[in-house]
């Protein structure tokens, strides 16, 4: 049996790890807003805008990254194909090259998921 799902899962986890850059970017926005407070001609609206941007960017990266990592773990374990493919798509949002390869491999490895689930069902019934 080919090992598409496992490779796809690893690529998805790598894509999910790239969410750390998004979190760093969000933190950078918040730090920039704090830095601007001390400056002359400070506009509170601009500071608020940067803070909101930072929080939204950071939270989005955390959520999408978590989905990608969870999906990648499921793909490695060959469980819940739908969650695995959702994670791979989330990985494509974070880091395109790895995420796309992960999406293709998880799609190609769909039979591996159903084969493993069938094996587990036959073990529980038999």
């Amino acid at each position: 049996m080919p090992n598409y799902a496992r490779t796809g899962g690893i690529l998805t986890i790598i894509s999910g790890a790239f969410s750390i850059f998004g979190v760093a970017m969000g933190g950078f926005y918040i730090l920039m807003a704090e830095f601007m407070k001390g400056q002359a001609n400070y506009q509170p609206v601009v500071g608020l805008f940067f803070t909101i941007m930072g929080v939204v960017f950071g939270l989005f990266s955390i959520m999408v990254g978590a989905l990608a990592i969870i999906g990648g773990v499921f793909a490695v374990k060959r469980k819940h194909w739908a969650v695995a493919i959702a994670g791979a798509i989330a990985g494509a949002v974070l880091f395109f090259p790895c995420g796309i390869a992960g999406t293709i491999l998880v799609s190609l490895g769909r039979a591996e998921f159903s084969a493993l689930e069938g094996l587990q069902q036959s073990q529980t019934t038999g």
């Binding site: 999406t103 293709i104 799609s107």
Partner: protein, 132 residues
């Protein structure tokens, strides 16, 4: 037989059309920059440097042309997908379609990946001829 390849081909073509539309958008933006430049001069607004307008127009045209080329590739690959020929090319086109329009490109990739067996009958039919 399921018709996953047919749906994937249509999605690839839609993504490709969005890519070609980028070139239309780039030409529109070029026209818009020139219009704004002339409008500023006519109404005594702070004038925009001609060099900046030209640079912005060139950047838009280059980006638009590249994305349009990717879109044309996605359209050609979408046609191959509909004909169920050249699975690798079809998948490459779906990836190109993801660059131009993500929401259609991703389902196209998933469907083409899972419809690999739909591309096989043509290869099987040519195999005995080459063997003989």
């Amino acid at each position: 037989m399921q018709n996953k390849a047919g749906i994937a081909g249509i999605l690839s073509i839609i993504s490709g059309i969005f890519g070609v539309l980028w070139l239309v958008y780039a030409y529109f933006m070029t026209y818009w920059f020139n219009f704004m430049s002339k409008f500023a001069d006519m109404h005594e607004f702070p004038s925009v440097s001609v060099n900046i307008v030209q640079l912005m127009s060139i950047i838009y045209i280059i980006v638009g042309s590249v994305v349009a080329a990717i879109g044309i590739f996605a359209i050609v690959a979408g046609i191959f997908t509909l004909k169920r020929k050249h699975w690798g090319l079809a998948l490459a086109g779906a990836i190109a379609g993801t660059i131009t329009f993500f929401p259609c490109g991703i389902p196209a990739i998933i469907l083409i990946s899972s419809a690999q067996n739909e591309f096989l009958p043509n290869q099987k039919s040519t195999a005995p001829k080459s063997a003989s």
